[in-house]
Amino acid sequence: SPAPMPDQYARGLDWLSRYGYLPPPDPRTSKLQTKDGVERAIREMQRFGGLEETGRLDKDTLNLMQTPRCSLPDIVGSEDMLKRKRRRKR
């Protein structure tokens, strides 16, 4: 049977990490995102997207997250580039 659909918050966090606003989850460690960190990431995403900075996954924010877009992250870090290289090697 298909896995249950992640909730809106989890999907929001996945979106934020996919596009560089949150560090990607690392399966080797059990790091948790802090509440402040998530709020900061949402604010940054809102600022980048020209939305009001509420720090919450409000309607406008969720709408923007559903807008078709380019796959590249908005915040490009070295981790992302290294990961890409490793994936290609594998």
Binding site: Y19, R47, F48, G49, G50, L64, Q66, T67, P68, R69, C70, S71, L72, P73, D74, V76, G77, S78, M81, K83, R84, K85, R87, R88
Partner: protein
């Protein structure tokens, strides 16, 4: 605008198309020739404002120019072996890889599950605007938060007339920062002016001029005078004022634009405006920041609790028994694993081992910094780099003390800006090689700060 830190090292680029939209998922008139025409117009948007040229490779060319030239366009779907799977209709539309020597550099992929169109309505996706955006990535641009900008990450719909499309100012500035300005547009001949057009002899173009950089971040980066330089996890960090630049192991800067120290290094006072020295302790990877008479210990990019603590804990005193007010440079010398701190023309050596508490300098220190012959006695900072060499940084110059050496009399300084921070070469007089001898034969003197 934001730059990826990567660019092509030439301006005549080649491109090719490796697959076309699936006819069943695109509008009926979307034939290969039309796709190529739209992509050609998308490249033109960039070559109109920067001295770039894009040549489409034919089948014959491809063997000579490698497998597809610089920018290889394809329409693919779902997983396609590059780490960025597409997700069906909607969601992600396309992506492109930044320039470089990697074999994927410049590759541009469009999601073949989209309904690609040209100037269509909201039920389809406009190929032209998406292609202009993706080619921006393939040329070295990152996503921009500016509005208007074609480099905004979200789909922006179609434009009215692609043949007269002009890039927004934000994107023009970005591409010109990377490749310079386009000096002139090609001459347009009026139609029907005669049977055989006679081409007038055009005047020789003026010699290329370097791009004028007026923005403050360029000046900051290229004029040197860094507060601190550190080799952390094999990357070199250049700190200046409230900002830093970061050079990756590949030799590329993460960005030409600086990052705010307080946004990355968590736990320093928010008003931090100057770092005196930084180094990574090799035994356990902790990172130590010195600011004034205090120091902070970081685990990764977060300060450990209980810091700052007073610099006096390091047990350093000057030769005349005075107090050390600040550390000017700090590094671990790779050839012996010892830590060296510099202040006011003197230096101390530490064997930190694994203990953090109760650190004391080795006996016989401080010593005179002039023992390191041929380099400034008051460096901005020092790192170990390359083959265990010691790199001394001062103003906009750096000196390399080769492995374990202390007394190389002739150490020729080089430019930090050019060699490390991707700045254009500007001849500057150095203490050893004055670039402009005085024209009238008079003596002239150059000090290290010049």
């Amino acid at each position: 605008y934001a730059l990826s830190g990567l660019r092509w090292d030439r301006t005549d680029l080649t491109w090719s198309v490796h697959s076309y939209p699936n006819p069943s998922r695109s509008t009926s008139v979307f034939q290969p020739d039309m796709v190529k025409g739209i992509l050609t117009q998308a490249f033109k948007a960039w070559s109109d404002v920067a001295p770039l040229s894009f040549r489409q490779l034919s089948g014959n060319d491809r063997e000579d120019m490698g497998p597809g030239g610089d920018i290889r366009v394809s329409f693919t779907r779902s997983l396609h072996d590059d780490g960025y799977p597409f997700d069906g209709r909607g969601g992600t539309l396309a992506h492109a890889f930044f320039p470089g020597r990697d074999d994927v550099a410049g590759d541009t992929h469009f999601d073949d599950d989209e309904y690609w169109s040209y100037g269509g309505d909201s039920s389809s996706t406009d190929l032209f605007t998406v292609a202009v955006h993706e080619f921006g990535h393939a040329l070295g641009l990152s996503h921009s938060s500016s509005d208007p900008s074609i480099m905004r990450p979200y789909y922006q719909g179609a434009v009215k007339d692609i043949s007269s499309y002009n890039l927004p100012l934000d994107d023009r500035m970005a591409i010109q920062e990377l490749y310079g300005r386009k000096e002139s547009k090609p001459t347009v001949h009026p139609r029907g002016s005669g049977s055989t057009p006679s081409h007038p002899r055009l005047p020789s173009p003026p010699p290329p001029r370097p791009t004028k950089h007026s923005d403050r971040s360029f000046q900051n980066r290229c004029e040197g005078g860094f507060d601190a330089v550190a080799n952390i996890r094999g990357e070199v960090f250049f700190f200046k004022g409230p900002h830093f630049w970061r050079m990756q192991r590949t030799g590329n800067l993460v960005s030409l634009n600086p990052a705010l120290i307080r946004n990355f290094w968590m736990g320093l006072p928010p008003e931090t405006n100057k770092i005196d020295a930084v180094y990574e302790r090799k035994s356990d990877g902790i990172i130590i920041f010195f600011i004034g008479a205090q120091y902070w210990v970081f685990k990764d990019n977060v300060a450990r609790p209980g810091y700052p603590r007073p610099l006096a804990e390091w047990g350093m005193s000057t030769k005349d028994g005075g107090k050390v007010e600040r550390v000017e440079a700090a590094f671990v010398w790779a050839h012996n694993g010892k830590t060296y701190l510099f202040s006011m023309g003197e230096f101390w050596k530490f064997d930190e081992g694994r203990k953090e508490e109760g650190r004391k300098p080795e006996g016989g220190y401080p010593k005179d910094a002039a023992l390191w012959r041929g380099v400034p006695t008051d460096p901005d900072d020092i790192i170990s780099w390359g083959e265990g060499d010691a790199y001394f940084f001062k103003d906009n110059l750096y000196w390399v003390m080769q492995r374990g050496g202390l007394d190389q009399d002739n150490v020729t300084p080089k430019s930090i800006a050019v060699d490390w921070l991707r700045c254009p070469h500007v001849p500057t007089p150095t203490p050893h090689l004055p670039a402009n001898p005085h024209p009238r034969g008079k003596d002239c003197s150059c000090d290290l700060s010049r």
